[in-house]
């Protein structure tokens, strides 16, 4: 039998930072990352020299990787990580950092994700995203992730009876949440009619199913709970995490993600059930993926996603609060920072530092990550259960 995984006792996430996004930026990824790290250090009442662990996620920091950033930012960490996992970056960075802190390899780990978005940089990234994308995706109409997820969405709709109205409900609820969030790039109310009437991008994907690429950065600090307390920092406790890559490779087309493999352990490790969860931050590159996560994270059975969405408001103040700052669909997708957005917002919700809508009496949140569609499906998946700290 497999050895049981050790709990993350005494490990917390604190100092949630969002560097406000911009549609386009003339600055480099290094600039965005630097601003986020500075904010974390400031917020935590630390000096740069105190940072002994760094985890970096970025698509546009090249030719640098995390090591180049240590010199660029003047840090001398004794623990360093680079997590090129897109939408799964936040959860994966967190779980690795948590173990480093728990084992004493580092005391203060800054996890940061940042990307710039220069005019035309998105197009250039698409054609070179992966070897499979270069060989087997980009030459096929060059629709980017829109066309890949269109096929997944189309297949899901056909099999489980999801409608555009169901996906629209997710997008509209997120926009409602976003209207209260000051950093959201989308400032206008979205109605279901707006959603349904938007122009087609790659059928059945329409304009408001797509995230808007932008520049931005997100970051948080991982440390021991007692250390956070002594710094006077409010924090969220880490109860459980899972991570899985290239799950179900035999599925001819993706209708489930890696969460489904590890979901029992996910809740068992935390000692809670899906019913105990007060809010959920799914990775929302496309609404069909949100629905898939609602199923695979155990909030409803496979195929019941559409009915589940119909039976909840999905707003921060309603039933099943979901992507409570608006998610990438309304805030924007700042490259790898999109994989941090839900996690950083979850920490704010649990520490009472919300910038926008607050989930009433939020005690437990689930954050989910998903990313890297290198050929026909998202490969990386992960999730974390966070709880309000005791401080």
């Amino acid at each position: 039998m497999r050895a049981p995984r050790q709990p993350y006792d005494g490990i917390v996430v604190t100092a949630p930072v969002t560097v406000p996004y911009r549609r386009y930026s003339t600055n480099t990824a290094h600039w965005w990352v630097g601003r986020a790290v500075r904010e974390v250090v400031k917020k935590a009442g630390l000096e740069s020299a105190d940072i002994d662990g760094l985890s970096l996620s970025s698509f546009t920091v090249g030719p640098d990787t995390a090591i180049g950033l240590t010199q660029h930012l003047g840090l001398s960490p004794r623990w360093l990580d680079h997590v090129p996992l897109g939408g799964a970056s936040g959860v994966v960075a967190l779980r690795r950092a948590a173990r480093a802190v728990q084992c004493g390899d580092a005391e203060f780990v800054v996890c940061v994700a940042g990307d710039t978005n220069q005019v035309d940089s998105f197009r250039r990234m698409l054609s070179t995203f992966s070897r499979f994308a270069q060989d087997a995706v980009y030459p096929y109409g060059s629709g980017g992730p829109n066309s890949g997820f269109a096929l997944i969405t189309r297949n899901y709709m056909k099999h489980y009876g999801a409608t555009r109205e169901d996906f629209g409900k997710i997008c509209v609820a997120q926009r409602d949440n976003a209207l209260k969030f000051p950093h959201a790039l989308m400032k206008r109310k979205l109605t279901l009619d707006d959603y349904l009437g938007a122009r087609a991008i790659s059928d059945p994907i329409h304009l408001f199913d797509c995230v808007m690429p932008c520049a931005g950065a997100e970051a948080f600090l991982v440390c021991r709970e007692d250390v956070a307390r002594s710094q006077g920092l409010k924090s969220a406790r880490l109860l459980s995490t899972i991570e899985r890559h290239n799950a179900f490779p035999e599925d001819p087309i993706q209708y489930r993600g890696g969460w489904a493999l590890d979901i029992d352990e996910f809740y068992a490790m935390a000692g809670v059930t899906a019913d105990d969860v007060d809010f959920v931050q799914t990775y929302d590159d496309y609404p069909v993926i949100c629905m898939m996560q609602m199923e695979d994270l155990g909030f409803c059975a496979k195929g019941e996603g559409p009915a589940f969405v119909r039976s909840h408001t999905l707003t921060a103040d309603g039933s099943f609060p979901h992507n409570v700052s608006g998610g990438q669909l309304s805030v924007g997708q700042a490259g790898a920072a999109g994989g941090f957005l839900g996690l950083v917002e979850a920490v704010r919700q649990l520490t009472g530092e919300t910038l926008g809508a607050s989930v009433p009496d939020a005690k437990i949140g689930v954050v989910s990550g998903f990313g890297m569609i290198t050929y026909d499906r998202g490969l990386a998946s992960g999730a974390a259960l966070l709880a309000r700290g005791t401080a």
Binding site: R131, D135, G141, Y375
Partner: protein, 413 residues
Amino acid sequence: MTEPLVRPKRKNPLKKTRVPLLPQGVRSRTALGLTEAAAEGRFRLQVCSDCAAVIYPPRDACPRCLSARLPFRDVDNRGTLLAETTIRTSTDVYFRERMPWRIGTVQLDAGPSIVAHLHGDLREGERTRLALKLDKSGQAIAMALPMEDTPNMADDPQWRELTCDPKFRRVLITDGRTAVGQALAEACSAAGASVVFVGVADPWKPFPGEERLRKLERVEIVALDLTDTISVNECAGEYAPRVDILINTAEHVRTGGIIERKGLTVAREELEIRYFGLTRLAQAFGPVLRARGADGVNSAAAFVNLLSVYALANWPAYGAFSATEAACLSAAQSLRAELRPGGVKVLNVFFGPLETEWYQAVPPPKVAPSALANATVRALQQGLEDLFVGDIAEDIRARLAVSPKALERELGS
């Protein structure tokens, strides 16, 4: 059902000619195995030598057993179209001006799922057969076709991007005095070419088959002497903007090896007609072909070289001739790279001895000129890049793949 193509109207000379753009042509080295298959119209994927898994996209390790022995093999091309999408917006300049564009996920019966271009007559949920094709960049893509042929199938716009169909195109055949040239004129006319220009040196000199050639529908005889640069340039000046497919049918077949030839007279003549003739054609017509690669229904599509299969391995009985053919093949490879920016294909047609007077003493099997012509037109309709016609050509190709050294000894004995 596919809308039949409409014969293009005469072009307004004041209108801008669309600049040829290409889809992304970068591939991993391993993925070029697909390009190799597509060039000959085969459907091949990697098949693991250890566990027999059929693999896609191309890899360097088997995802089932981690084997590195992953040769490309012919596999069953049938499958089911699981999901489709119509792409309406793209960041890529080539696809942007060709929107909307349909793609879909095909699950092959052989195993893997393949994201493929879709023929217009194929619908979600239907059975399909996949074909590997060369796109305008010259690299392989997969296209899903309806299980059975449909009316006007070849007129589908996504399909026609991949082919060099003579239908509604204007063809130049460079030497109408040869039996092969005449057979090609007939085959292209029958395939729906708008006009077939047939070059003849000194057209006032009668030649066998002339009467029949002149009677063919939509065939026009033009003066063209491939050994004369001025003649080639004059012909290009008149016709190049109206040539969409150029088929070089010049031939000069003489027996003998290098020693037996005695002097350079015959060798020079051979090179004048074949190698320098090809060079003259390429220099006179190539730039216009390359500029017209995206010029609508009758865009420039192909430059066709008819090559003896002994271009690949010298046959000393026709040793000097083989050497000249090898020079032409090498030139054709360069031409392929030079025409690619225009999305214009170079089709090399390889064949063994023909059923003509110059191979009189050679025993069968030999290739009939009409068979060669029909195969060439089919290759254009399929958008192939390499074609082997007849048993001898297939045999030489197979033996070359096994052992070039063994073939050299066998041909020289």
